[in-house]
Symmetry: C3
Subunit: 312 residues, 3 copies
């Protein structure tokens, strides 16, 4: 693997899932692979799981890790040709080239503005780093994609599925704040790579990017969508057509034990209890959110392993 910007950078999804599950059994078996290799983690946004699991993954492989909250330094400029006489102190051209010299791999978290759709879609932060860096880039959630989360989700479904082709439903949920589309986008893209029966359910006005959804069935009737589901992935996102708007906080879309039926409940976390999903679901054995979060380590680890192997 040369870099991990989006899930299509994985050549063989079933193979990488298998390898992640092997790493989970023996997390320290490649500890010499990362000797004298450094992962620089750049955070433009806050993080708990991604921060800790990716750092852990790198250390499991014997890498050194250096973490920089970029906002603790200064604002970067991304536009070409700007007269930098205002709030940006360094151009990403320099920053990316410079950091590449201190790093063997650079991992980046940079959320969308949710105000300028075209700019967000351009993925200017991570793509600028990819363009100017001389080392591989790993996406720790960008404006439109969260491929480490999606790989985690795929590992979790592969581990827990009880039939060859499980029914998987992505179900929108209400949330007090406007959230990005990254998790939903990458989940849908990843599910297409697995042998699952995928559908999506959300209120009107919440259609995801049609280029991603394509011919996946979409239901506005949540109950109809959830029928006989094996895995229900619950996630809020703001409107994509009326970009970044919160069109509904309808509590009827909250996931409940009753709606869930016998399905496994999935969520990327953090999750707002009794807003996105009721306690009874999260506190039941059907919830696999903790197992999912555990798999974050091995998703990151298999990606870093593939990248390190390719460096040699």
């Amino acid at each position: 693997m040369k870099y991990y910007i989006d899930i299509d950078n994985i050549q063989n999804v079933p193979k990488i899932i298998e390898e992640a599950i092997e790493l989970k059994k023996k997390p320290y078996s490649f500890k010499s692979l990362g000797t004298n290799k450094t992962l620089v983690m750049l955070f433009f946004n806050s993080s708990l799981r991604t921060r800790l699991s990716t750092e852990k993954a790198a250390k499991n492989l014997g890498m050194d890790v250096m973490i920089l909250n970029v906002n603790d330094a200064w604002n970067l400029e991304y536009e070409d040709g700007t007269v930098m006489n205002l709030n940006t102190a360094e151009h990403v051209k320099e920053a990316a080239q410079v950091i590449s010299q201190y790093a063997d791999v650079i991992a980046i978290r940079a959320f969308p503005s949710l105000t300028d759709k075209e700019k967000d879609k351009s993925e200017f932060v991570i793509n600028s780093f990819k363009r100017y860096a001389s080392v591989p880039i790993v996406n720790m959630e960008s404006a439109m994609a969260h491929p480490l989360q999606a790989l985690t989700d795929a590992i979790t479904i592969e581990e827990l599925k009880q039939k060859d082709k499980p029914k998987v439903v992505l179900s929108w949920a209400p949330h007090p704040k406007a959230l990005p589309h990254a998790v939903a986008n990458s989940f849908v893209s990843m599910m297409k790579e697995l042998d699952v029966d995928l559908s999506i359910t959300h209120p009107e006005g919440y259609d995801l990017d049609t280029e991603i959804v394509k011919d996946i069935p979409v239901y506005h009737d949540q109950n109809e969508a959830l029928k006989d589901a094996d895995f229900v992935y619950v996630k809020n996102w703001s409107s994509y057509s009326e970009y970044g708007k919160v069109l509904s906080k309808d509590a009827n879309w909250m996931m409940t034990k009753e709606k869930l039926g016998k399905a496994k409940f999935m969520h990327c976390l953090p999750v707002r209890r009794n807003m996105v999903v009721e306690d009874a679901v999260l506190d039941s054995e059907q919830s696999v959110v903790i197992e999912q979060a555990n798999n974050r380590t091995f998703a990151a680890q298999v990606v870093l392993k593939k990248i390190l192997e390719n460096l040699k």
Copy 2:
């Protein structure tokens, strides 16, 4: 040792002090104990000594360390059954379970509000983590206890005492801000475990928790209390009865060279010079605050060592 929430988690205080003093002589002699073990340090409040000494202690044992300022992520919810539609983005139930999967030990610093006595007494932050985490918890100062500091203090007294049963006085001092009771509480509790003659002196209105103080002599006359002391531990705390109030900033309670007599001067640091204690004390040979701070490393190291040994 299964965890270190409060000093009563130590089975044998004299034994652990002895072991800490051994570690101080050979800090790297157990460096293989922490191989492939990770300490996650969670800070809800600022730290200098605790941060550096605990990180150092873990690395002396060969552990990996991951540090998260939780406020850089988001606010946690601690109440059960809440509809999380406001300022808390993740419930401690999830956070504690998730972080446990990236950590072998979790260390936590979480100060009290000093506004809600019952809530502070409930130790809801550290106790919630203890309840939901699947790995041992170490207290790096909670609302009502600072057991790593108390262990440090015990080590220091054990190292420096010149008689079998030294006279130890805990003396309140003025301070511009309202401070917690954690250090004073844990110091009193720890002194009961040592063979010392303990007394406490403070102005009226500054009584500590009677469940902790019990039958320890308390003086409102500082000079009377300090007479023939071998160790004087100076510390400010806010009122416990009029919870979190600053009832006095009476400069007469500042520790001076004259009042100190021939005693050793102790303080947990940071200390405000010429407010809590005059320069002449801190700059004299009677001050052992630097030695105390050094022992923070070995207090943390012996605790982590005991916990790691118990994990095996």
Copy 3:
């Protein structure tokens, strides 16, 4: 080397440059030197390059690294005899002595106020740490000096020079904000140690400290100064005589391809494009700013190596 506060702590500049270039070829060849040695990095100001390159350098030598943004803790007091009843919670006397016990080397970044010239010139932050610490101090940019940058610059010129005594010009550039003199000061001091033909050019009112400049030729005509230069080091600084004032933002002083001639372009970064220097320079092969930034690692590494060797 006992410590690295300013470049005159280097005994033999050509020798240390040579050693840095050797380290660059084999960065991990002294990895056992730092075993069980800890570098504590204290930041009073933001950092990107210095933070990452110094951390990398320490790890290349096998050291453990602990990083503290001091502003995340509390304000330190530097004055003697103060009654600390206001905003400072800990005196540098205690802080420096305490941190020394957790560190084998302490590296410090502390920028000037640019409002109180005498106080800035006193270098009270780094000098207080030097005075009270019991371990070596490394300057990661202080009020008036940036000796790691200057060593980097010397390494870069030594690597890239194409004649025995190259002509080196330090050229002032406009900037929207008032910047310190540290980089310019240390660059000038370092160039005196090399066999180069140094001159300085800046608008009137921008004279650097005469004790540093001494008999180095100074031109107010930039074109005259730049004639036949081999290396042009561009840097903004605020006025030193009218201390901390921005007297000019004259765009005519921006470095351009035309003015640069055939010289190599140097800058310490971060650099504001099209304000300090035009894109055409930075994007050309004449720019060596990325190579400079790379050498930050080896400047820090050779300094840490010298200090570690002296500890033994």
